[in-house]
Each structure stands twice: as C-alpha cells, then as structure tokens.
Amino acid sequence: MFDATDFMEINMGPQHPSTHGVLRLKLKLSGETVMACRPVIGYLHRGVEKICENKTFFQTQVWTDRMDYCSAVANNLGWAESVEKLFGITVPRRAQYIRTMLAEYNRLASHLIWLATHALDIGAMTVFLYAFREREQILDLFESFCGARLTTTAFRIGGLREDFPPGFEKQARAFLDRFPSCIEEYEILLTENRIWKKRTIGVAKLNAEDAIALGVTGPVLRAAGVPFDIRKAFPYAAYAEMDFEVPTRLEADTYARYQVRLEEMKQSARIIRQCLDGLPEGPTMAKLPKILRSEVNEIYHATESPKGELGYYLVGEKGSLNPYRFHVRAPGFANLQALPHMVEGGLVADIIAAIGTLDVVLGEIDR
C-alpha cells in the first residue's frame, strides 16, 4: 500500500536533548505524524541486580542510589525495608518518621526534576530554572543529613546511622514555609497558560484499562482515575500514621498528570510537616548482628517511589551473606512500555511531551 519512501525512519536518541538520558526511540514518521515508535533500552545497563547478588546486604545499598538517581532516598528506603522484612527487623519509630520525611523530600525533589525537564521540553524554560532552584535547597537538606546530595545512601538497615544534625529541623521548616509560594509561581506560569494547555490537554492519553494492562503505576495511573498508591494501599514506614490524600484525575492526559503531580507535591509537604510535628523521641537504630546471614526465605516489598511502584524481590539462601536472587521492579521500566501506545498517531512534538510526562529515568530502567 505504501512505498518505502512514504515514511521517514528516524532515530531519536540515545543522544538527544529530550530523551532524558540515553533512551533511544526508533520512529517511523509520515511527515510529522508518528506511525510507529519502538523504544530501545539498555544503554545504561550495568547489571545492578547480578552485581548485588555478589554483595552483602549492607553493601548493596549504594547500588540502589544509582538506579533512579533522581530519587535515591526512595530507593534506599525500599531496599532497607526489604532487607528488614527478610530478616524480621523492627525499626524504631523515630527512625521510621525520619525515613518517611526524607522520602517525601525526595518525592518533592524528583517531582521538581520532572516539572523542570517536562516544562523545558515543551519550551517553558523559566520553570526549569525555578524548579531547580527549589531542588537545590532539598539537596542541601540531604547533604546536611547524610553528606551526599545525589547518591545519598541515606539509611542503614535497621534504622539510621545518625539522627538529625543540629539546625536541620529549622532548615526543613524554612523550606516548607517557602514552598507553597514556589508552587504558586509554577502554576502562574503554566496552569492557565493557553499554550501549555494546548500542548498538554488531550496529549498522550492512556486510559485506566490500558494503564493497568501495561503495568503502569504511580502518578500516570492516578491521572487515569485509579486511586492506587502503595502508601495508602500497603502502608510502610510511618505512612499509616500520616494524614494525606491521593490526588486523582479522570482525563488521563498529560495535563492531568501535571495536575496530579503538582497536587502530590502539596501532599508531600503536608506529610513532611506532620513528620516534623509528631517526631517521636527515642533511638534511631535497631539492635542488629554484625553480620546478616540469610535463611531460606523469599520476599517482595513494594514502596511508592516518586515514579510509581518500586518493588524489591529478594530470595535468601541458608547461611549466605548475600541474596540468592535479587530483582527490582522498576516503575520506569513498566511505565515506558506505555510510550508507543501513547504516542502512535500523534505528532513528533507529542513524543517529547509523553517522555516528559512518563518521567523516565534510564538509570532504573536499564539498571
């Protein structure tokens, strides 16, 4: 029916300003219309899972930092909790609160990166720098807590290595007081902006049925009207004691995801405030043996990372220092599957919006 010359095959990535790292898309274009889109992944594959099967449980934590490098704390939390679940360790309540708080700060940082890059991809370059300005302050908080900004390795199995440093709480509260006005700034620039709405409303739709079938989780799923949030559904850390809402939208388009994530940022700020207000006294580290030797055991522990369901699957071996089998259910990996579904039939510019709205981080997809 078509000549070979009717289509233009074009490679988007792995080196391209908007493929968020090293994602490669094989596109088939008819003019500007996308006829087919095939994501090619693996350019950042390091074999994290196999490496970690040869590391002790304590050593693996630093590898989790490097999967989704925009939300290292969330990865750390999932890992620490998985090992604690494997060994039946109970974490002190104060440590739970601090973990929850830092994980929520991390959600803010990750969502800010998403907002920044998504807006930049669509051309709103000022939002990019505004969002990075706020993220910088969150990274400063991480730095004062654990000495690192990006690859935090924030927690220890069994709790925390250290309590807050002096002055941390004041810094954290100062950020919270300023943050609502920052969100307002983004909203002034984007929410009612006609061009922004034209670029996002009805673009890259993914309805609830398809999202569930493709294993999509996180804000992308919630923007399709499914109120599934692991923090509510299977509470972990201190989330059971927190009062927060799970924002959802029904439109299932890019604009709805934008709204959901902005609302999530407000809810995260709410959770952080509750953690700071209700912070219990007590120790921050459980009593642990020097060496963790596993039994024959198998666990799957899911947490709600900023991108969606981050699950760790661990199989223990009798007397072994390292896991027998380690697998990560990375939210970005499942979410990326939805990309062809979202963009085929759209225009080239919509691919950029779709990649941005999926919030992919290739570090966790390729692992």
Binding site: P17, E32, T126, L189, K198, L347, A349, D350
Partner: protein, 397 residues
C-alpha cells in the same frame, strides 16, 4: 530642500559610508542582543551568573573568568559582568572546525548561511533611520565635500515591497541549509520552517498593508512621517492630508498582529519550530559549526532587529516620540519632544528587542500544527478584517 546634484562617484561613496555605518550598527546590536538575552533571561530566571559557575582559571577562558571577577568588584561595571563572553563566543566560533557532513550537497551547504545573513542585512538598506539629512560633510573632505549624509541608504519609493521581498529570500537559507545537510533532523527543521515562514508571510504582509493604506505610500520616509500623525504640507504650508485619529485603532491592532507574525518569522519562542531544540536537536543548523553556524545565528538576531525596526517605524511612530499616530498632539515647536530624534527610534527598537527576550522567558512552545492553525485560523482573518477597517476609516474620513 532639494538635494544638491552629486556625481556618481560621490553618490557611491556616500552610500558606502552609509552601508558601513548601518552594518556597523546592526553588527554591534546583534552581539549586544545576545548579551542582553543572557542578562535578561538571567534576571528573569534567577540564574546564578557565569562568575559563579565558570570553571577554569587557566588559559584564555581562565583569563576571561578572572576579568569578570574583577569587573564584579567595581561598583558600576558589575552590571557588565559576562561582557567578556563576547570575546569568548567569538573566539570559539572562529576557532571551531568548519565541518561539512559526508555526502552533503557541498555548494548549497556552504552557501546557505550566507543567503540567510545577507538577506537579513540587506533589509536595512531601505530603512529610514532619520528623515532628511543627518549632517553635511565639510568642504575640506576629499571627494565628498559639501555632500549631505542622509538617514536612509536607498530612499526608494517601493521600500516596503523591497523589504518584504528580501526578507522572504532569507527563508531559502534555512530551507536549503536543512536540505543540504543530508541529515534527518535538519531536513525536518527545514521543512517546518518552509511551511511556517510561508504561512506567516501572508498575515505579516497583510498587517504591513495597514500602514500602507493609511499613509498611501510605500516609501519608508514618507510612511513614517504620515504614520506619526503629522500632516503632509504643500509648498505654501497648507495641510494637504493628515491621518485621521480613528486610524489609531487599526494601527494598534496591526502592531500586535505584526509583532506576532514577526516572532514566527524570526523563529523565536513561542514559534521556534525550525529549531525546536527539544524536538529536533538544533533544527536546520544541527550540522553546522563554527562561523557558518554563527551566520545563521547572526541572521536570526538581525531578523529580530528587522522586525523590531519595522514595528517601531510603522506602528510606534519611528523617530517621533509618540506611537500610533499621536505625534501631532505635540507641536513641532517644542524643542526635543516635538522633533524627530534618532534616539527615540533606537529606544523603541531596543524595547521591542527586550520584548522578544521577555516572551522567550515566559511562554512555552506551540506544537507544529498549532503554529499553522494560529496563522491560518486566527491571524489571517484578523489581518484581513483589520485591513478592511483601516480602508473603511480612510475612505469615510
């Protein structure tokens, strides 16, 4: 005032001097605009300046960095921090290897940036920067003694048509550059620009027709005078014709129409389709480097200056103080405000250039099909209606 008879040599020499002045003006304004773009965007976006993030301390860039630190410590010069970037930019562009992609259409590839840059500079040849004579050369100057230096290089009576025609030639540079690169992203960028610029030419030309109808002339100098609202006088000082005050309305609408189309014609946000960096890497100039790239860059900024110049000339009252034909409310007897002044013109051009940068810092980018929709569905009907309005007012009053 009748111009004194000049020999051909004298005319040519004068024109050459004018060309040098105008080209010097434009080629100074272009790097200044890029500098202003950095500064203004920096302030809009609360960026930390290069003084804080520049890395090296050795070599050429190191020297420039240290220079910037020193400038920051002086009270008034501190606003100019980042000025050494001129030098760094120019050096970088000069020293870069000039690459031609394999199996590119060599001749076209090499000539395309020149077409763009030349076309954008040529437009200035008919711009009237100042009505009448700027100054007369004193008698002792060889060859051109006693000759007047006018504010227009070529005071031709079809100035506007010449201008729009030459401006359209600039599109060839982009389309050919994109095509000749033998690369897919530049090709997409070139195709986009062909479609976009051809579409926007239509409402652009129509919005420029409004001042033509109002002033009844195509000569740049005459148009600016009529459009400032000043009466045309005959030899005895009788008022022959004057722009009706009601024409203010179509002029006002026309200004925004023209500016919007101007944004699209110069490929600036929110219409920067041909080089949408987040979609097409760098659009039509992806494969260009070094000086050839900088010619495209120069053309883009020179085009911005063209649009700013035309908008301020036809709609904002050019070298008179008040815009939209309100100038006649200030009698010509008032010393500075009532007289034409080159500085008013420059001030308007620079303010409009600021608007270009401001918009870039504020708005996201349209999608390709939406850009076309804006042109054909909104701007074109509006421009036709506006033209109709202007014609009706002129006919009735």
């Amino acid at each position: 005032m009748t111009p004194i008879a000049m020999t051909l040599t004298q005319t040519l020499v004068i024109a050459l001097i004018q060309c040098v002045i105008v080209a010097g003006f434009v080629l100074t304004l272009v790097p200044l605009t890029t500098f202003a773009e950095r500064k203004v965007l920096g302030y809009l976006q609360q960026r930390l300046g290069a003084t804080r993030v520049a890395g090296g301390l050795i070599g050429v860039t190191g020297g420039l960095n240290r220079g910037m630190w020193a400038m920051g410590k002086l009270p008034f010069v501190s606003i100019l921090r980042g000025l050494p970037f001129f030098v760094a930019d120019a050096l970088k562009l000069f020293l870069k290897e000039d690459t031609v992609p394999a199996r590119a259409d060599r001749v076209v590839f090499l000539i395309a940036p020149a077409i763009s840059a030349a076309a954008s500079l040529l437009v200035f040849s008919v711009v009237c920067f100042y009505p009448g004579t700027l100054f007369t050369f004193p008698a002792w100057v060889p060859v051109i003694g006693n000759c007047p230096l006018t504010g227009t290089i070529a005071d031709i009576n079809v100035g506007l048509i010449f201008m729009t025609g030459i401006a359209s030639v600039g599109i060839y540079g982009i389309v050919l550059g994109g095509w000749a690169s033998n690369s897919k992203y530049p090709l997409l960028g070139g195709l986009r620009s062909a479609a976009q610029m051809v579409s926007y030419e239509v409402p652009l030309a129509l919005s420029l027709l409004t001042p033509v109808i109002i002033s009844g002339s195509l000569n740049f100098r005459e148009m600016t005078r009529t459009l400032a609202g000043l009466p045309t006088l005959d030899a005895s000082g009788q008022v022959l014709s004057q722009m009706p005050v009601l024409e203010l309305i179509p002029l006002f609408i026309g200004f925004f129409l023209y500016l919007t189309c101007g944004f699209a014609e110069t490929n600036r946000m929110p219409f920067d389709m041909p080089e949408a960096e987040n979609e097409l890497v760098a659009g039509f100039h992806t494969e260009y480097s070094g000086m050839r790239f900088s010619f495209f860059y120069l053309a883009e900024y020179a085009n911005m200056i063209v649009v700013a110049t035309l908008a301020s000339a036809f709609f904002l009252g050019s070298h008179y103080l008040l815009p939209f034909g309100l100038q006649h409310y200030i009698p010509e007897s008032i010393p500075v405000l009532g007289r034409p002044n080159l500085l008013f013109f420059l001030g308007k051009i620079i303010s409009l250039l600021f608007v270009f940068i401001w918009v870039r810092g504020t708005l996201p980018r349209y999608r390709y099909d939406q850009v076309m929709a804006v042109a054909w569905k909104y701007l074109l009907p509006l421009a036709i209606l506006n033209l109709f309005l202007a014609a009706t007012i002129r006919y009735c009053l």
